[in-house]
């Protein structure tokens, strides 16, 4: 009798440990890897910024063959309350950077969605999309100049989805102000704030749309820009300290015959951003520089419009039109003869794209651009790109 009991206990123990081993494997998070590479042929030095935007970042392009960043994604539910997501970018030259590392609530209910950690801000339409989901090799000029391609934030995001048939989503973010136009400062409280509103719906079974309004506010402290042209014909290093306020509008409209995106579809989108910066500019702060500080205020604007057309299964073509306006700055008297207030040039670019996707997991792309973003430096650009995704089948957002 005793032996049978012991045997039973052993069997149960064995079963339990077997089940545990199986479960441990089953609990592995979803894992995905994006492999991408680009070949770029450019006529001008990609390090030259758009005219009038020398004080903004210039993410530019890489010339020749370039494997770009391989992106590794890991995600899983943490527990019944939270879901964790990490996206690591493996740089071609070595090194790993944390693109996203956030935790998202899964059970707050009432349409509330809380996200914290490092994430792409919910402002605009393109900002949250990862590079492998872009419809072009590069971001629009307005995203490159005003957000250094994408605004990433270390902070907290709270979204609320209204209980209506119409999609109405309201979101707010507070963060460190890590990315441009903020400056990463060690201080209590928030360095940057974002508010956004998204509204969207279907029109019949064939059309859908989403419109958005975004507001961003941060403060820059001693934000340094090098190689800024001045009125004396030199390039100097400047520093800006002051408030930065940006407002944006975005609209996306999609159409597919019978609503079947497998066969054919058309996607039109446009975004507009307007940024006002107001504060003090320190001119020529480099070693041995004159270092003159006076007031500085400027309003920069930019927009893009693009259309993507899938004309047959797996084949898409697209056209994008980019415009930037550096605005006319009010420069304090002390710097009036130093700092360029008006460049009298509006950067622009026209881009054509064709891509082929052998499956949902692979894409090969050719892109041509007529880049007039730098005065007297017209550029014809050619790109060839591949994007491959391995592992977990990540669902894409709208």
């Amino acid at each position: 009798m005793f032996d049978i009991k012991r045997l039973c206990a052993l069997v149960l123990l064995g079963l339990a440990s077997h089940a545990q081993a199986a479960n441990e494997a089953a609990f592995n998070p979803a894992f995905s890897l994006i492999l991408s590479g680009t070949y770029a042929s450019l006529r001008q030095d990609p390090a030259t910024p758009a005219t009038g935007f020398a004080m903004n970042p210039n993410p530019g392009h890489e010339q020749g063959f370039n494997i770009g960043e391989s992106e590794m994604g890991i995600s899983a539910n943490v527990d019944p309350q939270f879901r964790g997501v990490a996206t690591l970018a493996l740089a071609a030259a070595g090194g790993v950077s944390v693109e996203n590392a956030y935790v998202q609530s899964t059970s707050l209910g009432d349409g509330l969605n809380l996200k914290f950690g490092r994430f792409f801000s919910g402002l605009g339409y393109l900002n949250e999309q990862h590079a492998h989901a872009w419809d072009f090799v590069d971001q629009p000029l307005v995203y490159a100049a005003l957000w250094e391609n994408q605004l990433g934030e270390d902070g907290v995001q709270l979204k609320w989805l209204a209980p209506t048939e119409l999609f109405v989503e309201l979101g707010g973010e507070m963060g460190k102000g890590r990315g441009f136009p903020g400056t990463d400062r060690a201080k209590n409280g928030s360095g940057a704030g974002v508010l956004f509103l998204h509204v969207g719906d279907d029109i019949g079974s064939e059309q859908s749309w989403r419109a958005g309004l975004s507001l961003h506010r941060t403060r820059a402290v001693a934000r340094e820009s090098s190689k800024v042209p001045d009125l004396h014909g030199n390039t100097v290093t400047d520093q800006f300290t002051g408030d930065s306020r940006t407002a944006g509008l975005d609209l996306v409209w999609k159409y597919a015959p019978n609503g079947n995106i497998k066969e054919r579809y058309l996607k039109l989108q446009g975004e507009y951003f307007r940024r006002n910066e107001n504060g003090d500019l320190s001119y020529d702060t480099g070693s041995g520089g004159t270092n003159v500080t006076d007031s500085y205020a400027v309003t920069q604007r930019g927009w893009y419009m693009q259309g993507v057309y899938q004309f047959m299964p797996r084949w898409r073509t697209a056209l994008r039109i980019d415009r930037l306006d550096p605005g006319s700055a009010s420069v304090g008297t002390a710097n009036a003869t130093n700092v360029i207030a008006n460049y009298a040039f509006k950067p622009s670019r026209t881009t054509l794209m064709l891509d082929y996707s052998p499956s949902e997991f692979s894409r090969i792309r050719v892109q041509l651009a007529n880049d007039q973003s730098r005065q007297n430096l017209s550029d014809k650009q050619l790109f060839v790109q591949y994007i491959m995704s391995l592992g977990a089948h990540g669902a894409h957002s709208y």
Binding site: N260, E263, A395
Partner: protein, 297 residues
């Protein structure tokens, strides 16, 4: 005591909400089934019969509808994995997340076919849990209806009796309809067919069709001209009677093969709303059987 209080609360709550369950159906067949089992429910259908169910976008409208849902009814088995996870996550609706009572997968109630023995994307768009196109076998609706009805009663216990009655009525009528369809479809037994997409194993298993070739070289991959020529060569050795495709699929590959092999190209509605005749579940199978029989001639 607690049970009585909570039952009373549920009753009050359900009365306050006018008792209508808000149901989000991923595909039209589940919306049609829900209409049989819960005629009073407020039912939203997320996708249409002319859309490829593998390729849907997480549109804002879907997120807004999922936010208000009490019950999400989907095929499951990864059919909706390209869009449903985003819709459910963004809906911030705790009631309908996978694993909760408000999330129902029809595939859980039936025996899956074509469960792959190896998982490799080199094999195309394969689903780990098996072929998800379970709605083409009318018999599958019986266990799914029973499970869905039980779930409705669990979510809305105040109307459990009504759900049981609707289920009993549906089962009675559906069994009679299956018997009728099987009798009509008797000539189809053993008939060799070609399929455009690997989307008909359940239909073939039910009616005894014999699948001899697939037009897609791998699941989800469009056939090239060279591949179609190869299929044509297969058909010369091993003739088929007809080539089947779903309403949402591009007709060209089927028509190409049909013309050259001298067989019938049959477009099946595949789900409710796939054509003008397939207006509800009963007429979906009336029309499916009728079109298959016409293909034999």
């Amino acid at each position: 005591m607690n049970k009585i209080i909570s039952a009373l609360c549920l009753l009050l709550l359900s009365n306050a909400a006018h008792a209508a369950i808000n149901l989000f159906a991923c595909e039209p067949e589940w919306a049609a089934l829900a209409r049989q089992l819960a005629p009073d429910a407020d039912i939203y259908t997320a996708t249409g019969a002319l859309q490829d169910p593998h390729r849907i976008e997480a549109r804002p409208s879907l997120i807004a509808r999922a936010r208000r849902a009490d019950l999400v009814v989907c095929t499951g088995a990864e059919l909706e994995m390209a869009w449903l996870p985003v819709v459910l996550r963004e809906s911030s609706n705790g009631k309908v997340q996978p694993g909760s009572d408000g999330y129902f997968e029809a595939a859980d109630a039936v025996t899956m076919l074509e469960v792959p023995s190896r998982l490799d994307r080199a094999d195309g768009d394969v689903h780990a849990r098996g072929n998800p196109h379970i709605q083409t076998d009318a018999r599958n609706f019986l266990p799914i209806a029973a499970a869905l009805s039980a779930r409705l009663a669990q979510l809305d216990p105040a109307h459990a009796g009504a759900y049981r009655q609707h289920l009993a009525a549906f089962e009675h009528d559906w069994r009679a309809a299956i018997a009728k369809w099987e009798q009509q479809a008797a000539p189809l037994k053993g008939v060799p067919v070609v399929v455009q997409h690997q989307g008909f194993p359940y239909l073939a298993a039910w009616l005894g069709l014999r699948q001899v070739a697939v037009l897609e070289p791998k699941p989800g991959m469009d056939p090239s001209a060279a591949w179609l020529a190869q299929v044509l060569a297969t058909l010369q050795r091993q003739p088929a009677k007809m080539v089947l495709r779903a309403a949402y699929q591009d007709g060209r590959p089927s028509e190409w093969i049909a013309q050259r092999a001298g067989i019938a190209a049959v477009e099946l509605p595949y789900t409710v709303g796939g054509n003008d005749e397939a207006k509800d579940l009963y007429r979906l199978f009336d029309d499916t059987v009728a079109r298959l029989l016409k293909g034999l001639q």
